[in-house]
Symmetry: C2
Subunit: 388 residues, 2 copies
């Protein structure tokens, strides 16, 4: 991975994670950068989410993102709020010292993921931030991508080069299962494309709604979910081409997160057509991707059209069973009624890393997508065998 | 189980189920009876649901309920609609013949549960209805309760006697997992209490919202869900006492269904307090009871307050983490922040047939309940190992 022009990054092991793996990450722009962000819709939020929302409202540009993994700094009270602010202060001071140029704490966005209800190990975090600032490099993207992981099995990276040479690079983390809790989703995208902040902020929520927000592993949102894009404006770029690349990256990261869902053997890709509206299409797609019965059927390689129709119908979107169609891995299995299909052939084709489910609701012309993964016995083991 | 005065019931094995177990059920009142019904909220519905809604709208009284298990008569097109009508016609004729008094098809409510997308085996159903009519008896309640089951492990029955002697008797079926599909919930309650139909119809939807609709095993609704209460008016009764008994029966049946959830080892009983409204309390309680992470934690006997708060927060009801409280099996584990608790003791107490989770949202004075079960590896096996 090559970072866009004018960005440096780093990830270091600071001892926040008991495993000793990298856990403090820093991503710095060479100049004040336009940015857009979305944060979790959960009502129970971590200190970094509250702080990011406040920074966001000022509309001021940012210079850096600092993230720690291993501790979510959530349900940690007033001390947690102070610790979160100190992350930004420490990062600003460390980068400023390294570069010989000042940086304001309010130019640094914080992010955390990991255990909740436990005070941040601030000594480790402080030294980690200092070390990360010293390690900043244009080649540090992979290090950043590694240091934000929790129990993810692989880094998630996506990149595009635009006509004219501007670049867009994104990293994400997903379905880590950590004490005592849930799968925080963090996504960070940086570009040297010159895109006005107003454009970024107008486009980002819609892109997130069509990608990360259509991702379901557990059905639960987390206290710390965050998706941020920043643009330092170093290179001219066509805005349309940029936005297309940005959405492609968001979708690619979404699929990478779903494929790495806990205990998952298969990425579940759902496409809904024939919906009354884009919103209903997304609701239905998410309904199918999050249905335990559908997910277990995919694990069992069973092209179970009944579960798919019922999962969509349960979301109460407009649909017509008499004209609806269901396609599993390219095989039509329901067409206004049960369709004949070669069960052994379909099951064999479902035995894949990616399973595509397509559903036409027969109620309109709108479409939408969602992503998930199969529900496996391994998932239950991972989530039941843990003890607080 | 003793049926209320003036009711007879029966269940017979007619060969709809491949297993040869009882599969056609009949419940008959001696006179036209007031009734109330709720049907599935899924948009994909079976023929019996459409027919029941149409009958309901006429406000005419009913005389009988006929149910078959083993075939849901769903996604069966126009032929399925005709088959469903024939169930009522056949039942009316058979009961009329047996009693020597005519019964109209529109006085018979139909219900079906089982496989979807497969034509009803009408020869078996017809002979089953005739045999059930011949077998009708005041002692036939248990037979009815048995014949509506699919893969349920046990019959679900609840009964109350009111001051003055009127009785209320309810039966239900739940989380059967059958080709290709889902857990249809059927519930039937009969009483000899003299309750006006307007009273029944005003009260029943609210009772169902506080009981059956707060039950979650898969998170999916079914194409055939139905809950019906009928009152033949044979005995005077206090309406308040009747409604209280009716709700107690609905809750008791709900708990019985949840406890018999597929692969479940534990009934999960969630109580939410401190909500901004009754509706938000129910939404939050259902969010907790349906969370895969909470359900897996209960299976693992882990008092995981983080997952509980996050599941509630994800429903976006008003809550305040700084004043919220979480109690697991009587042990306070979160009190505006993590609370100290004896982990071994709590885990031991969670190793029970019923686990109670209590959550105070710290946002108001309203309360609500929901019911579910734990998520087990056995659940995944049952739902993945089936092949269409």
């Amino acid at each position: 991975m090559r970072l866009p022009e004018g960005f440096r990054a780093a990830g270091v092991a600071a001892g926040v994670k008991p495993s000793g793996r990298p856990d403090v990450a820093l991503w710095v722009a060479d100049r004040p950068s336009a940015w857009a962000a979305t944060t979790t819709r959960n009502r129970f939020v971590a200190a970094c989410v509250t702080r990011t929302r406040a920074l966001y409202a000022t509309e001021a540009p940012i210079r850096a993102i600092v993230v720690n993994a291993g501790n979510a700094n959530c349900a940690t009270g007033d001390a947690g709020v102070r610790d979160d602010a100190e992350l930004a202060e420490r990062a600003a001071a460390a980068v400023g010292r390294r570069d010989g140029a000042p940086l304001a704490p309010n130019e640094v966005v914080t992010g955390s993921t990991g255990v909740i209800g436990v005070p941040m190990p601030m000594d480790a975090v402080r030294s980690g931030i200092d070390a990360a600032a010293d390690a900043l490099s244009p080649a540090g993207g992979e290090g950043f991508a590694t240091a934000i992981l929790t129990t993810d099995l692989a880094t998630k990276v996506a990149e595009r080069t635009l006509p004219g040479g501007a670049r867009v690079v994104g990293v994400a983390k997903g379905s880590g299962m950590i004490h005592p809790n849930m799968a925080t989703m963090l996504a960070y995208v940086a570009t040297d494309a010159d895109v006005p902040q107003a454009t970024l902020r107008a486009a980002w929520p819609g892109i997130v709604d069509r990608s990360f927000n259509q991702l379901t592993v557990d059905g639960d949102t987390s206290t710390n979910d965050m998706a941020i894009v920043m643009a330092n404006g170093a290179r001219p770029a066509d805005v349309e081409a940029f936005l297309e690349a940005l959405e492609a990256i968001a979708v690619e990261l979404t699929e990478a997160i779903a494929a790495d869902g806990e205990g998952a053997t298969t990425l579940l890709r759902v496409r809904v057509e024939g919906a009354a509206s884009d919103d209903e299409a997304r609701v239905a797609a998410r309904g199918v991707a999050s249905s335990s019965l559908v997910k277990a059927a995919v694990y069992g390689r069973d092209p179970n059209w009944g579960r798919i129709l019922v999962a969509a119908g349960g979301t109460r979107v407009a649909m017509d069973a008499a004209t609806a169609r269901v396609t599993v891995q390219g095989h039509r299995v329901y067409d206004g009624g049960p369709a004949p299909f070669d069960a052994a052939r379909v099951a064999a084709d479902m035995n894949a890393r990616v399973v595509d489910l397509e559903l036409d609701l027969g109620a309109g012309a709108a479409s939408g997508r969602a992503w998930g993964c199969d529900l496996t016995t391994q998932y239950v083991h991972i989530n039941a065998d843990y003890t607080t």
